[in-house]
Symmetry: C2
């Protein structure tokens, strides 16, 4: 049996485009004499459709596209993912389904059993878990067709009561297919391979896995669809971060491939993060129909990194960097920024915020007179920059990119409606120490981001001689404590027990908790860790934090 895996960039809700892409991939596989072509989970409607699933129109349109795709499956079979109505009176109205199409129609529909409802996933919000397990029979082969997390209940501490494969294995299947929507994170690829390997090995079956590629709002899909041998070894991986389609031959349980099998790509952390972020920016713009980005260039490392990533994603001609100096900006900030602009070959403006800042101070003089200069004045500067950037954005059709990093977002070291503005937070899931490491990676062959930017002490430059280190501990320590709290959900005592200074731990956790109100209004953050700020971390604002 010849099986084609189609790894496609879908657009949530764009049924025309998704259907078109699926039909093209079917035709390609057909022309290459494949028996079966496999698409990802919820491929028809894109992932995650979120509450668009609550519209009957959305489900009906999706089902009608499946029907029309089935019409193209006359000499080839296809598996596509999409929502379907639950015919039972009880339970949720929908299933998360895989449609098996052949002979021009929908032959079988199997539903997902294990519905991820944690972190960024909300599947039980919409779908009823399947309890009725069926095998797909096709050309004398029996296929155990599973949807994403259906294979994930193989740990020692399983998230669900049962593993669907335990039912499906009773039918003696010849191989496993898993259609997935597995978003990228730094740890996800390894985890994914572990799970797939464990399944192939446990059931002694070849396994075909098809993932999404692309990005939807804050979620990045890395692709990396793959095939495992029945001994649990990986046979081949499709490309990462781009569309791909490859064919595999399965004869008597033995796999072969038409493609020259390359070495499995080495998964260097920052290589993958860079590619993920570039894809995330590109997709956000493409899917919203925008082409041009604007951002404020402070002379610091964060905005330098985002400028580089934006120029990679959108092309240097589509990025406008704006330097917005104030009385507190150091000369090196401007020179370093100009060096970066030159290195990247992008356009820039230099717009002083002094006039705006002065006028606001002047307007407020009757009220502020006699008060101590402090946060209010610092925020005015940051917001003056935002108002100028947004004006240019509104006037000329740019999307403003946000340049906050995860350490800042965590402790609230940023101005809401100031430097926290932007349509998309590009590096809001990278701790400051990771920002440095990613820049080092980018500069590995040549100095793209000026070394001066990487070596000077971080500063917001909102008052004379200000340094981040005036308000925050050393970033290395800060980031370790933050990681323990955010990614590992360790509490105060546990973190202190790991050897950190108790008062410091308490202070940092208090800062994280107290700044929930700012993060509520932050832009979507491109997710590259296993726990990013945004819909994957849901914390009350008006809570009292016992940590």
């Amino acid at each position: 049996m010849k099986i084609s895996l189609a790894q496609i960039n879908y657009h949530t809700g764009n049924f025309n485009s998704n259907t078109q892409k699926i039909i093209e991939a079917i035709k390609k596989a057909e022309s290459e004499k494949c028996d079966l072509v496999v698409f990802a989970e919820l491929s028809i409607c894109g992932y995650p459709p979120r509450d668009l699933l609550e519209f009957n129109d959305f489900i009906k349109e999706s089902l009608s596209c499946v029907e029309s795709i089935a019409g193209h499956c006359k000499t080839i079979a296809a598996i596509v993912g999409g929502p379907s109505f639950n015919p039972n009176k009880e339970g949720k109205d929908l299933f998360n389904s895989a449609f098996f199409l052949s002979d021009g129609k929908i032959q079988q529909v199997v539903h997902k059993s294990l519905l991820p409802t944690y972190d960024i996933f909300d599947e039980y919000r919409h779908f009823e878990p399947n309890k009725d397990f069926k095998i797909i029979e096709f050309k004398n082969q029996k296929i155990a067709l599973t949807v994403c997390e259906d294979l994930w209940n193989i740990d020692e501490n399983p998230m669900y009561q049962k593993a669907p494969m335990e039912d499906l294995i009773q039918y003696n299947p010849d191989f496993i297919i898993n259609i997935a929507a597995s978003p990228f994170s730094q740890t996800q690829i390894e985890k994914r391979h572990q799970i797939l390997k464990a399944n192939a090995f446990k059931y002694q079956l070849p396994l075909f896995y098809v993932n999404h590629v692309g990005a939807q709002t804050h979620l990045i899909f890395d692709g990396g669809s793959c095939v495992f041998n029945s001994d649990g070894n990986i046979f081949e991986e499709l490309n990462y971060f781009e569309e791909d389609q490859r064919n595999f031959e399965l004869i008597d349980g033995k796999l072969s491939s038409e493609t020259v099998i390359k070495n499995h790509p080495k998964k260097e952390k920052y290589d993958f993060i860079e590619k993920a972020l570039v894809l995330g920016i590109k997709q956000y713009f493409n899917k919203l129909g925008f082409t041009k980005a604007i951002l404020g260039l402070s002379g610091g490392i964060d905005s330098a990194l985002v400028t580089y990533l934006a120029s990679q994603a959108l092309g240097k001609e589509n990025v406008l960097a704006v330097l917005l100096p104030s009385r507190y900006s150091s000369e090196h900030s401007i020179n370093d920024s100009l060096d970066l602009v030159k290195n990247l070959g992008i356009k820039h403006h230099i717009i002083s915020i002094e006039e705006t800042f002065n006028s606001i101070e002047n307007t407020l003089e009757p009220y502020f007179s006699g008060t101590k200069i402090g946060i209010a004045e610092e925020n005015i500067q940051s917001r003056s920059r935002a108002i100028l950037l947004m004006a240019l954005s509104n006037k000329f059709g740019y999307i403003l990119l946000n340049t906050s990093n995860k350490s800042e977002l965590a402790v609230g070291y940023g101005t809401l409606y100031g430097d926290m503005c932007g349509g998309l937070s590009v590096i809001g899931d990278l701790y400051k120490t990771e920002v440095f490491e990613l820049c080092d990676f980018i500069n590995r062959n040549e100095e793209i981001i000026p070394n001066n930017i990487l070596t000077k002490p971080p500063s917001a430059e909102l008052r004379p001689d200000q340094k981040d280190s005036d308000s925050l501990p050393d970033y290395k320590i800060l980031d370790e404590i933050l990681f323990s709290f955010i990614e590992e959900t360790k509490g105060k005592e546990e973190i202190i027990a790991a050897g950190f200074e108790p008062e410091l731990v308490k202070r940092i956790l208090r800062m994280v908790n107290m700044n929930e109100w700012k993060r509520w209004q932050a832009p979507p953050v491109l997710r590259i860790s296993q726990k990013s700020f945004g819909p994957g971390r849901r914390v009350p604002i008006s809570g009292y934090y016992p940590f």
Copy 2:
């Protein structure tokens, strides 16, 4: 048996305060010779705890508080709600539990079966559904103890596979207790009473229902704990929107009460909405430890209404209204605002934005010169106001209240980082037509909100002679279409079929969909409808909308 229902305002995560309040209510019930006192769902930790549940420390602290409360239950029994660890290897790590405390210790723990995971609810994110049903035996009575949605599977189109009462009824219980966390919405009280009535009637048992009161971030809990007779008729309701504790005697299935049974409160829509919003503001400030609000007063109805609600919630001495006129502000806007300020007896400033607006226009002149005046310039005005308000907020410790209404939020008729700023959106769940109706209600006895504000045509006053009706259809039609789309999740065809002009429907739905990016960054919206913007409505930004 004498049963006390304790309806308490809990604070999420504030274990000390919650435990203290519970112990006081136990002592009160004990002094009044009650046998049993009942507290709400997750009373120990507050509702909703959201992802605080992911911290082991949080669960352990919660369990230790239950233990310490048990120590106070020597001559009285109590039922309190809290999370507990799932001892099984499979499934989620936690249960949503009701602890039955007597003789100084935890006697029994029953777990919630039906876990709401829709709209603002995320319970399956954290909890494993219970499958093991137990009856509580106490003083020769058998109690069917259920947690909130456990009683809700009684519709013709049930959300879950089964109803826990079908198991519990096998034990021949003497009465039902339901501990709940049921947030307010315009339709919720009636729905809640229907469900409780249907259960009491179906199982022919008296039913005691205890709810939360207060607010947590965007969710308002109205209280209204109640008791139903075994014939399905309501016996008594506790107060709405305030703490309350009442005792009931149950002898041979017959109810009596010590309190003089008042007429059940008439639930006038706008009376309840006003009380809900006032409570929502008050709680948001109290729980964050703030006392003072600032807001911009435009002369329009939205900011007038929010100013009134804020002065009701926080006291007139704690509300600062700022008039921020520009060259486009009409004289009546200022006079009407001053009339309101006088009626409410609050402080105000008048701060012209002209200087700020001019300086920004001047700074941008090299870039804007020759372009057509438009949205960019309008947004500069709105953002100039925001920057001045936020400066005062930062300098003097006010929380800025947002004044956007639901119609504006829906179609994106507002400036992100401008009039969309604020720590809390007070009327973001009221359509414009509801804003008018609520103001009429407030003015029912005297002219609190100046009539001029209610009768003049709505305008953003961002360009000469601007009217909302230049950009938007009549609010009555707009709001009907929005309600069909947002609350009823009707699609384009369905709405058009209801008799609305097709091009208008398409235009409005397109506006709603296209402005998801703005709403992502909106403040928390006090929820008073069955579908508010915020965590109850989750829509991709970069989706393509097939509606």
